[in-house]
Amino acid sequence: MFDFIGNRKYFYAFSALILVAGIIGLIVNQGLNLDIQFQGGTIVEFQMKDENFDVSKAEAVAEEATGKIVSAQSSYSLDSEKNERIDMLVLSVSSSNALSEEEHEKLSKAIQENFEIQENTVANTRHVDPVMGKELALKSLFSIALASVFMILYVWIRFKVMGGLVAGVAAVVALLHDVMVMITLYAITGLPVNDSFIAAILTIVGYSINDTIVIFDRIRENSALLRKESLASITNKSIVQTLSRTINTSVTTITCILTVYIFASYNNIESIKNFMLPLLAGLLSGTYSTIFIANPVYVMLKERQAKKQATAKA
């Protein structure tokens, strides 16, 4: 039987390695790539006649029309009904205030005069108030923190046999691990941090805790059955006994995420792609942390507690 608890140093080291990679990524890329959502500004997308348009010219035209800093990109999407390619010019206007109605008008006019836009189409406009983005981020962080407290309390009550509080803390440590892995992904790849990032983190929090609890449940059961064995051995047995369940649920969930990711990639639907990638990373991390972090940390904390009690008695 593989020793999940005995080899914990290696697992911690692996996670630490990811953490270091994340920190290096943060330093090299100068922080996370905050999407316009958190910086404030306006994104305007025009549907173009074809793909032959000069992006840098568009940037210059837009900057002149609005008097603001604009970054332009070309992009495309597939119209799945007609199987046609839709070419787009994407302008990101950064400013702390959203574009006013007149500025928007001016910009549309300037682009229409200089480029060939698909007839009868509507420009896509998204405004982003940096306050809203920050509010959303703060709220989500607060929600996760509060949810963590409640989860520790619940585990404390329901898993008294396992030492309650210690088990709850170990479960939450695994959660933090997963959040860290996802931040690392964003730090290294420079993916834009936005709503999807927050939604993905929330999803993984829900998934990972469920995953951990199933093994804890087994430890709880085995603690009653195998009283003579050491905690490390009980935990190890519990991990092995629930291993096929841990793997199978990951397989079915990852199948779904991968399918959506592949479909979105093929049709170049950026928003869905950017939602699925962090989910994929979080899921792998969630499965890993359930087995290799939550349980070893639980055993470690429990053993320390026992040592302390022993010295206190002596």
Binding site: E45, S77, I86, I198, A224, T255, I269, I272
Partner: protein
Amino acid sequence: MTSKSYSYIISSCGQEQKGGILQMKGNYGIKSFLLILIIGLLTYISIAGLEIPGTEINIERVADTIRYGIDIRGGVRAVLSAPADIDPTEEQMEAAKAVVENRLDFQRVYDRTVLLEKSNKRIIVEIPWRQDEKEFDARKAISEIGMTAQLTFREVDETKIDENGYLPLDDKIILKGNDVKKAAPGADPNTGMVFVSLELSSEGAKKFEEATGRLVGRPIAIFMDEQLISAPTVDEKIAGGNAIIRMGGANASEASKAATDLANTINAGALEFKLEAPHVESISAILGKSALNVILYAGLVSLILVGLFMLLYYRLPGIIADIALLFQIVAQVLIISSVGMSLTLAGIAGIILTIGMGVDANVIIYERIKEEIRAGKTVKAAIDVGFDRAFTAIFDGNITTLIVAVVLYMLGSGPIQSFAFTLGIGVLLNFVTAIAISRTFLRAVSGVKPLRSNWLYGVKGGNKNV
């Protein structure tokens, strides 16, 4: 101590199963049959709808009733808020929302979403594109709805009635919005008559007394901007600044809804600030529709892949898991469509994710059953014990996830809230399907002798345990 009480749970479960095994066989068979019928019917209704001629029953198919978010349908989305230097009360925001609804009604924009975010004091308005509409109109509609509301009680020329009702006489304004201190819906406990009570300022009371004295038997029209809201007839001269407007209506609940609406509208007339719309977003309908198709296909493929995995890995119980999964997805979609929550691309992605996570409870149970079979139990005994032993894992796992969902729902707003809703529903359905549906099916199947082979449960080693 706790470990004792825990082992007690297991042993008490064990005792339960001993009685009446023969009796169960028939029961579970009939129950399973009924469940399959129900699941089949629900699936059929959600795909094709249901209409029984000659009855009132007419359920539209889900594809027609589900509300898609603005990111899929395309349209305009605006966030309205009070100017930065004003901190409106909750009542004022409710009133402001009534103003927005009213103005959109006036512009004949009925297909819209108006959401009040109480915690942020923001009103979110979403208007989808209409078929032949140009961009300009909807954007203009949004910029107009934020203007200050002007409520007036006016004398009208009864001889001239245009398409909006009575023609207002601009020089004969009786009361303005700020003359009304408060309007509230109410009902007479004795007669059941529904009304809106008005409380006027002292100056308003004087003006109202004069006008009602002069206009007995004639209507006084209430206008919001240029739209006629209501035109009650004056019964008698009203002094003292307290008046009531009696509501008609076919039944009590309709009348009381109308009273609430009217009170909100009149309160809105006292709205002193303008709603600003710094964020007007427009989203193309073509891209959204295309994305919807793609993600629906992705969902279908995911469902097939997960279904196949369960079938190949778990064999007989796998079929049961697939039926349960089908139920779970259908129920989730039906609930979302009946609650009227609008479904965004991310929301659909979330539902697809629950396809993968939704089989978890069944995976836990089947793994446990396999273990018990390997430990030497018969298939039938393994199913009974496996279910009971798996129960606590499923229960605690789901409760902790439910805690996440509830906290997010309480604290979050907008997208987080709808995500939390989907997650919560998913967890509850997961629990119900595993405990009620899978259990019933498995018990029924285990009652049939030829279906008790180990192979059918994905365990190697022939039929020696039967």
